[in-house]
Amino acid sequence: MSVSAAAANYLGEGSGPRAWLLTTDHKRVAWLYLVSLTAFFFLGGAFAVLIRIELATPAGDLVSDDVYNRLFSLHGIIMVWFFLVPSIPATLGNFLLPLMIGARDLAFPRLNLASWYVFIFGSFFALFSVVAGGVDTGWTFYTPLSTLYANGFVSSAALGVFIVGFSTIMTGINFIVTVHTLRAPGLTWFRLPIFVWTMYATALVMVLATPVLAASLILIVLERVFGIGIFNPRLGGDPLLFQHLFWFYSHPAVYIMILPGMGVVSEVLPCFSRRPLFGYKAVALSSMAIAVFGFLVWGHHMFVSGQSAYAGVVFSFLSFCVAIPSAIKVFNWSLTLRKGEISFETSMLYALFFLALFTFGGLAGLFLAALAIDEHVHDTYFVVAHFHYIMVGGMVTAYMAGLHFWWPKLTGRMYSETWGRIAATVTFLGFNLTFFPQYVLGFLGMPRRYHTYPPEFQFWHVLSSGGAVVLAIGYLLPLFYLTWSLFRGARAPDNPWQATGLEWQTSSPPPPHNFETMPVVTRPAYAYDMKGLEHERFSPHLEAGQ
């Protein structure tokens, strides 16, 4: 790019709080999210550390039972709604979606900024609950515990989640409309990078599922604040109905929490294998299949809740079906490595670790979907291990992969590969040490949400707590070297990984409106096998513009 770097760069577009807090540039909004979400991740992580310390001994000696209940409730609520649901979509998605489809911004830049303010507004309610004395319902808010018996600050937490839900819906609408209306000329659906497909699928789930959560939370708040008894068994209200509504949202929401990770990995694996993604169409369509079929399986959280066994059989069947698209993806990712030229940069390591951990979490999902096994392991640490393998081992690892992959684009700086590789490896080892023992615990019958436990389980708990320390180091390291790189890192070239995506065709960091000249796309995604591509621009128009 011939234009002088300072003016061409979105980071140089004015500084100071005003320029950031009133920006409508999707790239800056992504940063607003990145900073807030990082804070929430470490807050949630701090609760997790306290949980693990408490569980190192069978007796409840560090905190009281009430405090423990608040710890895991807040941990779950914060990690799910204030970190993991928005994590990749609101940061990397926000930053990359317009770049990847060759647009100047999202369709509604102001709505995008508004969604961040709504997020912050909602998080005040949640933080109020934290400071005022916590919530003691678990992240699932089951009635009638949450409506009639819980004595924590349930209403403000529920309102917080409710409000954050709106920010999620806003993001979802923005993404859907952007993908439909702003694709660059020549960028047909089947030329889209998988990341865009997964963003689209995620947005669909956000828009269709979140309102149902909002409805159920509003009913809880009405019951607690206005005394309108809707789930009150005394009036004939049905506690199971709440569970239906909650899981109608929350099962699809777990796909909000994995699809974006799948998208990131689908970018990283081909890049460092120098191979096109294996079975591109199958991977793209299976993302959509996950988004749609994910809505049909929520009853698998309720096998022993008292719903009819017949419904249990239906939901179990559908749960096995929804595993198939994930299976397809796992096989396709593995085959992508075949005959590649594989190198092991930090983000590639994270992506490979994602592959392993997601697979092991997903396979545990099959155990849970099998009715007779779930009867035994439901609400035990087996479930806890399952979802941490997918959400932490899968999604958070993918988030790290993506953050490292696009860091040069986000910041224009390179970080230390050595430290990156160390952090990835420490995370992987610490993760397995933390959560593998929990599978064993669950199979042994250790119930979840237990403050104290029978002494014979201690061995496994100690392993898990030890692992959490290693894991904490794994997550703290990037905090330091990435921050350091912001100020001291080497300047990044425009396309440090020789990747093919449109986002790499503009400068690092990109100019305020993304592209000097609007691109035209002439190739499928992942054209790594087309010879001599590395230094060639995607579109003749880009060249012509200079």
Partner: protein, 319 residues
């Protein structure tokens, strides 16, 4: 169990073996698949690392036959495990006919059990080995869950309805009883022990607990005290259906439908009498919602059930 570290849960019920068989088969599958994928990925990663001499010609980024193969194979395997799990699971709905019925009541934060003979225990449950036991579960306040890992059984106790779980203990011993559904402050302390004993010991244990009045007898007393007998008794002036033998019988309703008088029906008849009106009767029965608590409801149900011919014989057998 090396060094006192547990690796497997105890197997102490008739279901444990078959559930474990499924578990270990699925585990074997998961390990086999996991290992092959690991070998595949690590193998590729080594073989095709940058600068390795491995040949890279003839590659293609898709292969329809391959993709179809793994899709179909996954489907088939998934369906096998689904079917297996489902077959084991639906047994839950069909307890053996001669089962002992114990009433279990969850409340914040204890389990209260009542044996057919009226013996009450808290956070302890004594059951005979080799006999089917049905625990009918109710909850006074929030949702709890009855969980005995050694038996591989779990069932939520939901306020406003009765649920069931059954098992046949196979090994005498003491096993953990947990509350698996988060229910508030002392959730982790809510539980205790299930003691499985040889039938003779169980009988003498029942003996030693004192010959309280049976659950059905308490229910009968309530039936008098609450005034049910005023309407449902033989000499009553109100026209109300006779309740003899009602349990398990089909009942014609005023809205032309027919329902089986199961526990849910009896329960609703007492708490929400207007919901389903028996054909040919006026809807004059008052609701007893709020007048009877869950424990009393269980007694009434036990009494009503004892009016059905099969039931008394069953209660006899326990003594």
């Amino acid at each position: 169990m090396s060094f006192g570290i547990p690796f497997f849960p105890q197997q102490a019920s008739s279901a444990a073996g078959s559930v474990d068989a499924l578990f270990y088969t699925l585990l074997a599958f998961a390990i086999a698949l996991g290992l092959s994928l690991t070998f595949l990925v690590v193998g590729y990663a080594v073989k095709y690392r940058v600068g390795s001499p491995a040949g890279r010609t003839g590659e293609r980024a898709r292969s329809l036959p391959l993709e179809l193969t793994w899709t179909i194979a996954s489907l088939v395997i998934a369906f096998i495990f689904f079917g297996w799990g489902a077959v084991l699971f639906v047994r839950r709905d069909h307890p053996p006919p001669n089962a002992i019925e114990i009433a279990g009541l969850g409340k914040q934060w204890m389990w209260e059990f009542r044996h057919p003979g009226g013996q009450r225990e808290i956070n302890e449950l004594h059951v005979p080995v080799g006999r089917a036991v049905v625990v009918s579960l109710a909850s006074q306040d929030v949702i709890h869950s009855f969980f005995v890992p050694a038996f591989r059984v779990k069932q939520d106790a939901v306020p406003g309805r009765t649920t069931h779980v059954w098992f046949i203990a196979t090994e005498p011993g003491r096993y953990h009883l947990f509350c698996a559904q988060y229910c508030g402050t002392q959730h982790s302390e809510m539980g205790g022990w299930v003691t499985a004993m040889a039938p003779e010991q169980y009988a003498s244990w029942l003996e030693s607990q004192g010959e309280g009045e049976t659950l059905a007898a308490s229910g009968e007393k309530l039936f008098q005290a609450l005034g049910c007998s005023g309407c449902h008794g033989n000499s009553s002036k109100v026209r109300a259906p006779s309740l003899a033998g009602i349990f398990g019988r089909p009942v014609a309703l005023a809205n032309q439908q027919t329902v089986i008088a199961d526990e849910r029906y009896l329960r609703d008849s007492i708490l929400v009498p207007n919901k389903e009106i028996a054909a040919g009767y006026e809807p004059v029965m008052p609701s007893f919602d709020g007048l009877v608590d869950e424990g009393e409801l269980q007694m009434l149900l036990a009494y009503l059930k004892s009016l059905s011919p099969r039931e008394p014989a069953k209660n006899e057998a326990v003594r």
